[in-house]
């Protein structure tokens, strides 16, 4: 049952990815403007242009180009970036860790903030405190990450300049890292000075990304907690003399978390999508920031590679959440 579910999901995932590849390819190829013309100095001969077109495979039909490209992708060859003249996959892997670290820190913050708000709100249900949480989460949800980022830049970058509002790490620092996972590596190497510097840069973009998700978690988890808190077994725990906080943490939470989990998965992909503009806003050197440069430079192979990597990330997260849901849901586990 579980295996079957997994295989079906895997298949739909591949269909989705193929669809994404087709859409990106078509969108880019109908673009007016010749990327080859932009690579050559003015006055280049027609022969040079033709040779370069052949080099990048642009002289074949669009269907041929697509399958040549797709075949390469399946072998891990995403082509060569036109603007940076480097291997696309290498460029993407150089930047992906920065984005993953940012998104993960943002997710952890969203769960921590939203979870705390939900538990406190459920404990104080029916009071002005709960109403306050509702208003706060409603506001946090209505304002998108782009605007939160700007608000944070003003508050903590200008008004009270405590955090850095630009870059991933202070440029004057000497970095001993061999991977691009700076945050993880700084922790492993016990270089907490570097961890602190990285976090100071990461905190504000992460909060901007986290706030809307935290609001959703707060609203949904609070609602499920309130429903569970009226059930018999919870009432029994209360009769046994547990405090309300203990009842929530020990009994209610594990049963109320399931609906939230499913939604958090989808919302996490929205969060990752948000990194594109938030990284730009904070000049954070991640994949999203590179993507915008690639679009502005009309760097077709690089754009294709980045969009595919984002899409792969999205479908993998959805698959993981779906499997987690199936594992945790007793009805599906024994079905």
């Amino acid at each position: 049952m579980l295996l079957q579910r997994f295989l079906v999901r895997l298949l739909t995932m591949l269909v989705t990815l193929f669809g994404v590849a087709v859409v990106v390819f078509v969108v880019i190829r109908v673009a007016p403007g010749d990327p080859i013309a932009m690579m050559l100095p003015p006055g280049a001969s027609d022969d040079d242009i033709a040779r370069l077109r052949a080099l990048y495979g642009l002289d074949k039909t669009i269907v041929q180009q697509f399958f040549i490209w797709l075949g390469g992708v399946l072998r891990g060859d995403f082509g060569t970036s036109i603007s940076l003249r480097q291997d696309v996959l290498g460029l993407v892997f150089d930047r992906l860790p920065a984005t993953l670290e940012l998104a993960t820190v943002a997710l952890l913050m969203a769960v921590a903030i939203g979870g705390t708000a939900a538990i406190l709100g459920a404990r104080e249900r029916g009071t002005a405190f709960e109403a306050g949480i509702d208003i706060a989460s409603g506001t946090a949800l209505s304002i998108p990450d782009f605007l939160w980022g700007l608000v944070l830049i003003l508050l903590f970058g200008v008004l009270v300049p405590v955090f850095d509002i630009s870059g991933r790490v202070s440029p004057q620092l000497d970095l001993p890292f061999v991977t691009q996972f700076y945050l993880v590596e700084s922790l492993l190497r016990l270089r907490f000075d570097l961890t602190w510097d990285l976090l100071k840069h990461m905190l504000m973009p992460a909060v901007a990304l986290a706030l809307p998700l935290a609001a959703i978690i707060a609203q949904l988890l609070k609602q499920s907690l309130k429903e569970v808190l009226d059930l018999d077994y919870v009432v029994l725990a209360r009769v046994k003399g547990f405090s309300e906080t203990q009842v929530i943490l020990r009994e209610a939470l594990k049963n109320a978390a399931l609906p939230t989990l499913t939604l958090v998965g989808v919302q996490f992909t929205f969060l990752i999508g948000g990194t594109v503009i938030v990284e730009r806003l904070f000049s954070y050197e991640g994949l999203g920031n590179m993507a915008i440069d690639a679009v502005i430079n009309r760097d077709l192979p690089l754009i294709q590679g980045i969009v595919l990597v984002f899409a792969l990330l999205f479908v993998l997260i959805n698959l993981a959440v779906d499997m987690m849901y199936a594992l945790l849901n007793p009805r599906l586990r024994h079905g």
Partner: protein, 282 residues
Amino acid sequence: MDDARISRSGSSPRLWLAGGWLLLALLAAVLAPLIAPQDPLAQDLMLERLPPFWLDGAEPGYWLGTDSLGRDLLSRLIFGGRIAFIVAFAAASAACVVGSALGLIAGYFGGWADRIISRIVDIWMAFPPVLFAILLVAVLGTGLSSVIIAIAVIDWTRFCRVIRAEAMGQARMDYVESARIAGYGRIGIMLREVLPNVLPSIVALLSLEMGIAVIVEAILSFVNLSISTDDPTWGGIIAEGRLSIHQAWWVLVFPLITLILTVLSFSQFGEALKARFDPVLR
């Protein structure tokens, strides 16, 4: 039913506040040439980075100060509202028509139509929306119509997903069955019976989408991909403000407040409208 009463009683002040701000901003945008105190494009290096009116060094007639080229901020915000509202209405309506139609078809007819439409929605959801928007505008070329098309092409799925689920629920209701027994055709039932019942959701989503369109337009002009760089846009002013943040904070603060109020108003307005028109809550 308690919930219904709460949202019902809470809807009126929300509706008025949100609607009031939107009306004010819309009127200012429509009447921009009449009410803007200065020419939004006029540069004057003698007047660069003037602070807003309550600070020392402010000039009369430049209420919210000027940017680093000496252009009047208030006038630029008023004119920027024109682009924002045009994009909001046009892009949201287009996304609404396409998304709601496909959602209705998928939800009401089910079967193959549903499978194909849902698969397309899945593919669309695997794109980071901001990157998709930037990519589309880069491909279509900058300009007002490109921005509108890009937003509509990306955001129709928001309508499609919600309306599909609602139409699916409605299709199982008894009244749909009775209409069929009464001899109405399937398309007739979909348009005459199901559509009116999902309309409150469509209206709420439409209002929400207008707010999202305003943000996406701001993001596109922030990365300099919206319309021509001469015309003032809220995102363009924000990009300018982000650069001169340490010298002239007001260039970032005022467009930011404008954007936040507009986005909040669109979402509140939508929810209040939904509470009003929802037959169950009413």
